[in-house]
Amino acid sequence: MSRTRVVVTGLGTTSPLGGDVASTWEGLLAGRSGVRPLGDMAEGLPVTIGAPAAVDPTEVLDRVVARRLDRSSQLALVAALEAWADSGLDTVKDAGELDGDRFGVAFASGIGGVHTLLSNHEVLLEKGPRRVSPISVPMLMANAPAATISLKLGARGPVNTPVSACASGNEAVSLAADQIRLGRVDVAIAGGTEAAIHPLPIAAFANMMALSKNDGDPTTVSRPFDTGRDGFVLGEGAGALVLESLEHAQARGARIYAEVLGTGITADAHDIAQPDPAGRGGARAIRLAVQDAGVAPSDIAHVNAHATSTPQGDVAESLMLHAVLGSAANDLVVSATKSMTGHLLGGAGALEAVATVLAIKNRTAPPTINLDEQDPRVELDVATKPRDLPLGDIAAINNSFGFGGANVAVVFGSVS
C-alpha cells in the first residue's frame, strides 16, 4: 500500500515582522529586523531588547475572546485563523462539508502561558487568593493554544501539544503530518506560538547566558553564523500551517504550497541545555528526515537553519549538515531567518516552516542579515541577499533544536 502523502494548503503567522504571512514574507525578503528596545517593561533587566509581535493580537481579536486567552493563545489563534482562511477550508466547513472528527490540531509552545501565570501570581500576593482569575488554569495550561484552535474551528480529532522547547513548533508539524499519514485525520492545523517577552523569562534566559548581551544597535544583535554572535534575541509570535492528505486536498481542488516529505525526531541525551558540540543528535534527526523523505542529498536546495546566533549551536548545525549530506552540503542555500525575527522559542520552528514552504513555493531563499564575517567553522553557503532557488523538483529542510536535547528536522518538497 502506498503511503499517504501530506501537503501544505494554508499558511498563517503573526510575527515580529508583520501581522500576517504577506507582511512577514515581505519583511524577510527585505532583510528587515524585528528587533527593538523593549522600553519600560525591560527597565533594570540585563537585556533590554527583543522582537515582539509587530501587531498586538488584542487589536485583531474580538475583545471578549482575547480576554479569556493568554497572549500565547491569542497569537496562536491569529496565525491559525489566517492559515485556515488561506487554505479555503473555512468555506468548506461553512458548507457543512468538513468532517470535524477527521480534523486535528498539533500546536505547541515552549514556555506556556507565562503572562497569565505571573500576572495572577502578582494578584495572589497583592490582593489575595479570592482575586485569582477563575479562568487562569484554562488560560495558562500547556495545551491552551491547541485547545483554543480546536474550539474555534471545530477540530474533534487528536488535538496535541508536543512540547520540546525551541523544537516544539517543528515537532508539531511532524506530529500533525504523522496523524495524517496514519490515517487518523484528513486535515490538521500545525504550528507553534510563544509570548515570553516578560521580565522573568528574560532574566532567566539572560542568567543562563543564552541571550546576547550586545548593547549595540538592536537590529544588529541577532547575527547567526557571524563571528560576532554572542547569543539569541528573544522573539514573539506564532506560525501555523494547514496540512492535508494529498487526496483530500486534490478532491476539493485546493492550492498546494508544498509537500511534507519526511520528518526526523531525536534527542541528544547529552546535556539539559547545551547542544552536543559534535551535533550528533541533530545529524541523526536530519538523516532520518532525509531518509523518510526518500530524497537524495543533491535534491536538497535549501535549509532554513535553526541558527539562533549562539556560539556553539551555529557551528554544530554546520557539522550536522555536512555529516548527513556530504559534499551536497556545499551546494545548497542556507537561510538563518532568526537574524531578522529573533528566536520565537516554541513558535520558531513553525514560523520557519512557513518561511521554508514559501521559499520552495516562490523559489526564493530569504537573506540572513548581520552576516558581516562568517565564522570559518561554518562551511555553508549562507544567503545574505534573497537568492533564487532552482526550478524543477526541489526539497528543503527546516531544522529546530531545543533545550532538553530535542532535535527535529522536517523535509518539505515542491509539488509540480
Binding site: D62, R63, V64, R67, R130, R131, S133, P134, I135, P138
Partner: protein, 81 residues
C-alpha cells in the same frame, strides 16, 4: 448607591467579562438563560462585583443568583452602609 446604580455598575462588569451589551443586563434577565453567561464567566463577574461593591459572595450563594435582580438585591442587602 441606588438599585439602578448597582444594576448599571453590574452591567458594566458583565459587559467587560462576557461582552453582553450593558443595556441588555436588566433585572429580570437570567445570567445563564438570557445573557449566555457561562459558569466560569459568572465566577469572574462575582469576583469583580465583590471588589467593586465591597461585598463577599460565598460560592454557595452564587447558585442562588439566577437573575440580574437576584444579584442586585444580594449586593444591596450586604453592602456596607
Amino acid at each position: 448607591m441606588s438599585t439602578e446604580e448597582i444594576r448599571a455598575a453590574l452591567a458594566e462588569i458583565v459587559n467587560e467579562v462576557a461582552g453582553i451589551p450593558a443595556e441588555n443586563v436588566q433585572l429580570d434577565k437570567s445570567f445563564s438563560d438570557d445573557l449566555d453567561v457561562d459558569s466560569l464567566s459568572m465566577v469572574e463577574v462575582v469576583v469583580e462585583a465583590e471588589e467593586k461593591f465591597g461585598v463577599t459572595i460565598p460560592d454557595d450563594e452564587v447558585k442562588n443568583l439566577k437573575t440580574v435582580g437576584d444579584a442586585v438585591s444580594y449586593i444591596e442587602r450586604n453592602r456596607a452602609a
